[in-house]
Symmetry: C2
Subunit: 391 residues, 2 copies
Amino acid sequence: MSSVSIPPPACLLRPLEVPLRHLFGPGPSNVPPRILAAGSRPIIGHLHPEMYEIMNDIKRGIQYAFQTENNTTISVSGSGHAAMECAVFNTVEPGESVLIAINGIWGERVAEIAERMGANVHRLVKAPGGYFTNKEIEQAIVKHKPVLLFLTHGESSAGLCHPVDGIGDICRKHNCLFLVDTVASLGAAPIFMDKQNIDILYTGSQKALNAPPGTAPISFNDRACHKMFNRKTKPASYFLDMTHLSNYWGCDGKPAREYHHTGPVSGFFALRESLAILAEKGLEESWKKHKEVAAYLYRGLEDLGLKLFIPERDLRLPSVTTIAIPSGYDWRELLAYILKHHHMEMTGGLGPSMGMVMRIGLMGYNCEKNNADMALHALADALKNCKRSKA
Amino acid sequence: MSSVSIPPPACLLRPLEVPLRHLFGPGPSNVPPRILAAGSRPIIGHLHPEMYEIMNDIKRGIQYAFQTENNTTISVSGSGHAAMECAVFNTVEPGESVLIAINGIWGERVAEIAERMGANVHRLVKAPGGYFTNKEIEQAIVKHKPVLLFLTHGESSAGLCHPVDGIGDICRKHNCLFLVDTVASLGAAPIFMDKQNIDILYTGSQKALNAPPGTAPISFNDRACHKMFNRKTKPASYFLDMTHLSNYWGCDGKPAREYHHTGPVSGFFALRESLAILAEKGLEESWKKHKEVAAYLYRGLEDLGLKLFIPERDLRLPSVTTIAIPSGYDWRELLAYILKHHHMEMTGGLGPSMGMVMRIGLMGYNCEKNNADMALHALADALKNCKRSKA
């Protein structure tokens, strides 16, 4: 038998240090004490009857948040990217055609995921902040005959909330599944999975829901289930296979739930609490609050002489506001100043919007006028104290 | 604009209820208050400098726990199954030959995962509780010429701790990577990644490390990195692609870490704390404690007239003890009695060991003689009060 030759690292003998910070970027958002407390409850087993009850509650909460009656409604044990892969891996088979609407980073990511699993990927591209008309979408569907259309509802990299009405009907007409990403928009902007004929919808836990990152609600309607449960090949991932996940979540009608993977028990406690808060508050109230606080923020930003990146007010994402980088400033310097002097996170762009925007997120728990005031004060201070390279 | 038609679910208006329970099954294990507290700290962003420091600490802690100097050492943002997929997806390409040692459920799972991603899977199978000689392994490697051999160190479904010495050398001789699963054994039984020439090693957070489930440490040595970073095809999963994950964890030498996915911030806080506890206590002490408490448990079980499932004492997994189902009893009835009357989880078998064993796990924080006493008392009570079907 060998002996230990690598000593305990000194860095771990120091206590964990975590600064307090205003998370006013595009997520994760600050987690309210009530959700932190739920997540720190002593755990139980992932297959205990009480855990199944908690998972049932989560399922009902997601159905409410998504406005769906879909039975196949679960939380993926991972971040939004895991839900993205779960959606694509399960509903698409290698060689099938998919159409990805790209107007920011999220479409790019889904295209990458679909290519890896062997789909025939067609891209419909606009610059960040751009959006697609229903006519453009229908033309592309007719041309490429995809089995799946992907669209981002809450395009947080550009601050755009994409219209959804009518697209689900177009997809049905052309026998295509409609997959929508609401990671950044759920709870902040209205979405009606059933009424809008969305076939697959997912979100993340760490945005307007205010839970820690690590769980990702997803729902599949009957059309999506019909396709994914009648496929010829197995999905590339066992971990994300909906045949197993729908059993673990009690969606498949079988009498017993079988062991598939160990779900993030604490993460599910926190997710349940976040959905409970949304149920108590009500979706309409949450949507209204995000719209009001965003409008208040827009006025304040314009009073500072800043320009909103999305000109059409109705297309702005209420949870994440994008501003054009003020002329002459280095956006990295502004953000670093705000972080250092105001203990506040705002961020730059992401993917194709990098260098084009700065982003302020006021989501869920953080969505309050006094937080908007703090953000505006910090921005004003940064604009005053950071140097301008040119007039 | 539509209106809300699905009302808030009444079940979410009730507070979260979680019973207190002794988690003396094969995991998750009870989480000590210190780790629960770390996991409930207010969060920061997944790309903040302080988060990178915490991730660096985690990396150092995993290096210690694995006894490795591998630079490519990270935590996967998911359960043990995500780490399993991460290992196989990154180091194997479609069409390549892999050899999976199966003596319980974990090998079965890896074979399933490897088949899905298109590998040419060869199975080396023993009944639960069986183990492989180095000669058997070498013969199979010579026959199938695999690029990867998978072996479970802590076979928790059967309670076996598989010998590892010498197998890494055989793999090197035949140009094969050696992948070892230590989900159930890490911190409980000695493993020396570098000295034992293990090329890829992973574990889970929720066993002897006592963190909540949802993070999974994994390490790749230079041989593994050489193969996975010189592959011709991209791994099936973007979420688990080590090109991106090694950048996010600061392992690739690049000056900047780029956004890949949102890591489970609270889960990382908890994982850091669990590794800190292991560093404070020391690996040798943790191994010794598990061995002593297990030996104490064995005596108590034998005093109750129970038969240990693994006859060879040296091959027993110290963290999870398996007992043969006592003759004439219904194991489900015994477990239900213990859960109901003693608020204690023990479990039956899993996969191929189902119906063959009952399992008692005393891991990390739970690994104390007084807990063994409680488990023995509960078992004795169940044996007395549950009916025997036959003499």
